[in-house]
Assembly symmetry: C2
Homo-oligomer: 286 residues x 2
């Protein structure tokens, strides 16, 4: 393994990276080196381009923090996240379709009772969200964990503007599998584009926008965890989502209501919107 | 561009990333998405494996500092750096062969006069290094910038142990293209393996060692900058360099000398080594 050249380098590298005891690590390492070298051989980067690539990846890493995951953004904007999602959700006939997780989930989110307002101090249009969680056979799932999170009315997530966690919460479905909560209407927004991923999008001539959506992550014992969004019909970015995440089956629409009695029996003193969707979980693989 | 699936996602992503005005960026983006998606399609990562990949790359970025470049280490240990080097140095007939730059070069290194000792306070075996810088036609190159850097006798670079820059300096060749300086003998060493690249090497069943070497970067007007090492014969790691960098033409050996008069006329009070090598630069491409 010396005096390696363009002809011998790839095979010798593969030989070196596949000597471990873990078969999956050997398999992934072999494929990584083969595809990575094929990419390099095709583009033939100059030394300066290679240095740019090293610096770009370093910037992506440096941009990551507790509240921003720039490598997830990079994966999202290169279509990798949706590809991994598609590969992992092939048997979804009848179940709710999945989409990207995104970079804004926060482990330490508040747990709220059904009917609570996730965003009581937020300006914006009041929004009542409700739905049912069911198994593939139609049975409602009681006690399902329903995580919801979304942007504010100008397109920012809580973690982008401060330390206060708002517009996100964890709920637990009731005995009939139902969940409901109050929040405010989100909007379409640009993904964070003041970092290296934003530079990449600009260089590729792309806008940074995602269509308006509410994130959901729903889990229950014996069921595959569902990671998805609900999109809103007629959004201007439904056909050019920068992370390729829109599925037709996830596009729904608000119902508009005058101020007055809301579906949960409470009184809303301003005009408000309602959004209703029933989620169907896939059973866990045997 | 909605409702994308395993069949349509790659082509639609390629369409999205190739809309910019810069042809090279479109070309690299297209190839990146195609090869990256081919890798993902082949290994079919689970969501957990994808998350591991995101976290691994994030750790690599976080490990980078002014004195450590973990992404270069990753490139080096996956054979990418040597492949880029080979692609960029195809017309080297008669010129000194190149090898990896490595992660330990420091821009802010001291400039010293010829004959100076880069490592006066260092323990270890005294080493006198000398050579000539020539053009491809054999003419000596006066005023060439000769950068040298290497590890100490236990295998650490200065930047790994403190803020004091030692065992590195920039020299300028004399009117006959000659350079010479004193330092101490380096040794084989493990690349920094307390970070994510170290974890990768362990998982792949690889040792982290590089054979003993002195780094050189040599530049002169009208000449391609030469980035290379000198290796020492009979080193135990010449055939398993973790970064695939060894070329036979770069393997040389020390001459051993008893204490006494050195080649530069000075007196060395301890037994010492000498290392001599003539470097030949390639002319810059037209």
């Amino acid at each position: 393994m010396r005096d390696l050249n363009e002809g011998t380098l790839t095979n010798e590298t593969i030989r070196a990276v596949t000597g471990g005891s873990d078969k999956r690590i050997s398999q992934v390492s072999e494929a990584l080196v083969r595809h990575l070298h094929a990419f390099i051989r095709e583009i033939e980067p100059s030394q300066a381009e290679w240095e740019y690539g090293i610096k770009f990846l370093t910037r992506v890493g440096k941009q990551c923090s507790d509240t921003r995951q720039e490598f997830i953004l990079l994966s999202d904007t290169l279509g990798v996240s949706m590809l991994v999602d598609a590969i992992n959700h092939r048997q979804s006939e009848g179940a709710t379709e999945t989409t990207v997780f995104g970079p804004f989930y926060v482990e330490n989110r508040p747990q709220l009772p059904l009917g609570a307002n996730m965003s009581p101090d937020e300006t914006g249009t009041p929004l009542f969200v409700s739905g049912t969680v069911r198994a593939l056979d139609g049975q409602p799932i009681a006690g399902a964990l329903v995580d919801a999170w979304h942007s504010d009315e100008v397109g920012h997530y809580d973690v982008q503007v401060g330390d206060d966690l708002r517009m996100r919460a964890l709920f637990r479905s009731d005995a009939e599998g139902r969940f409901w909560f109050w929040t405010v209407r989100p909007t379409f927004y640009p993904i964070p584009n003041d970092g290296p991923v934003g530079d990449m999008l600009a260089a590729q001539g792309r806008h940074p926008y995602r269509p308006e959506h509410v994130h959901f992550m729903i889990s229950a014992p014996g069921q595959q965890t569902l990671v998805t969004h609900l999109f809103i019909d007629n959004d201007p970015y439904l056909d050019s989502d920068v992370v390729f995440g829109v599925k037709n089956s996830l596009i729904t629409d608000y119902s508009r209501h005058d101020a007055g009695t809301a579906p949960d029996g409470s009184t809303c003193h301003r005009d408000f919107l309602t959004l209703n969707y029933d989620f169907v979980l896939n059973p866990e693989a045997e």
